[in-house]
């Protein structure tokens, strides 16, 4: 039988698991949309990569990690406060990056995809 204290302690953990589960479902749905190349989700305990072209996994993971570190430096330089989202654009691909519940997420997509829609989908 679970004591009251144990129950209270386990409640937030369950909530986090539930939220992370919802997030995973959202990411899976986003991945089925046209123009989405894949995503990387990382937190302190684990990382998950789902990218259509497996040869790109390491490069994308490296870019995603550097992006978060670089942006942290940039925002502290200009005192911009907490980051809502980041978008970088290359010649062929763009990346939407954001943090939800300690999960760092990077979504790779073709340049013609509306990243604002993806952002709203993740925030909903």
């Amino acid at each position: 039988m679970t004591s009251k204290n144990e129950f209270q302690e386990s409640l937030p953990k369950n909530n986090i698991q539930k939220r992370n589960g919802t997030l995973s479902i959202k990411l899976q749905n986003i991945k089925t949309k046209g123009g989405i190349i894949g995503y990387i989700i990382r937190n302190q305990k684990s990382a998950s990569v789902d990218v259509k072209d497996p040869t790109k996994i390491i490069d994308y993971a490296l870019l995603s990690s550097t992006l978060h570190d670089s942006v942290e430096n940039m925002i502290s330089s200009f005192e911009l406060g907490k980051v809502n989202n980041i978008v970088i654009e290359g010649k062929d691909v763009k990346v939407l990056s954001l943090t939800i519940n300690d999960n760092r997420i990077s979504i790779f997509m073709n340049k013609n995809v509306n990243h604002n829609t993806i952002y709203k989908d993740l925030q909903s």
Binding site: M74, I86, I88, G90
Partner: protein
Amino acid sequence: MSEEIYVNALKNTLTEIKNISPDVKYSFIFTEDGTIVARDEDVENMSLKKAVYSFQNLMEKADSIGGLNALSINAEKGKLYISRVNDMYLAITTSANADVAYLRSIVNVIVPTILKLLKTVAPTPLKFMPSQQFVVDILTGLFAGDSAQVDEERLMEWANLFDGKDINEIEIESFRGKKTVCNVKKISDSKLQGKGLILLSEKTCRALEIEKGDFVKVKPRAS
């Protein structure tokens, strides 16, 4: 056309962008190698360098997406937008409520137009000499003088970049942003050659507020 006129033209462009859109807080233009070509007066040098250095780190990892053409950060207290314009990057920070899409449409017209115009006036592209890093050592001895000393090899490389002109002067900048200009010659002490050092007089070190072992950035100036 001199580098100074070129820089002033870009600086005026930044001021005009700020006039058009009061949401713009800071703006600056830098090259791929990290040289800051033009900036508005309000922005602190150290902040700029830190941001540019971080952007360069990101650039190095961006081959997998076809290079880095633009970056936008949407944060609680403001926004940062960096966009590639020809062979340079334009960076703008704005208030949190700024309409970046509108701003983007303005800067993506104005800045390339100005750069095109400058290219028409001066068809030979201006070379912004990249600054190089050196470790400071102190010049000692009775006849040390005030001239800085660097490796002869480096002087020759710089001379090549300036189409064979002699390099007699350098601009030295500390990482705190202190700058000075002084004469330069090759390192006379063979034991100190080939170590990436710059030998500076105590007077120069005092002016730059640096000491032995510190890093400085150096830009050559042709005679």
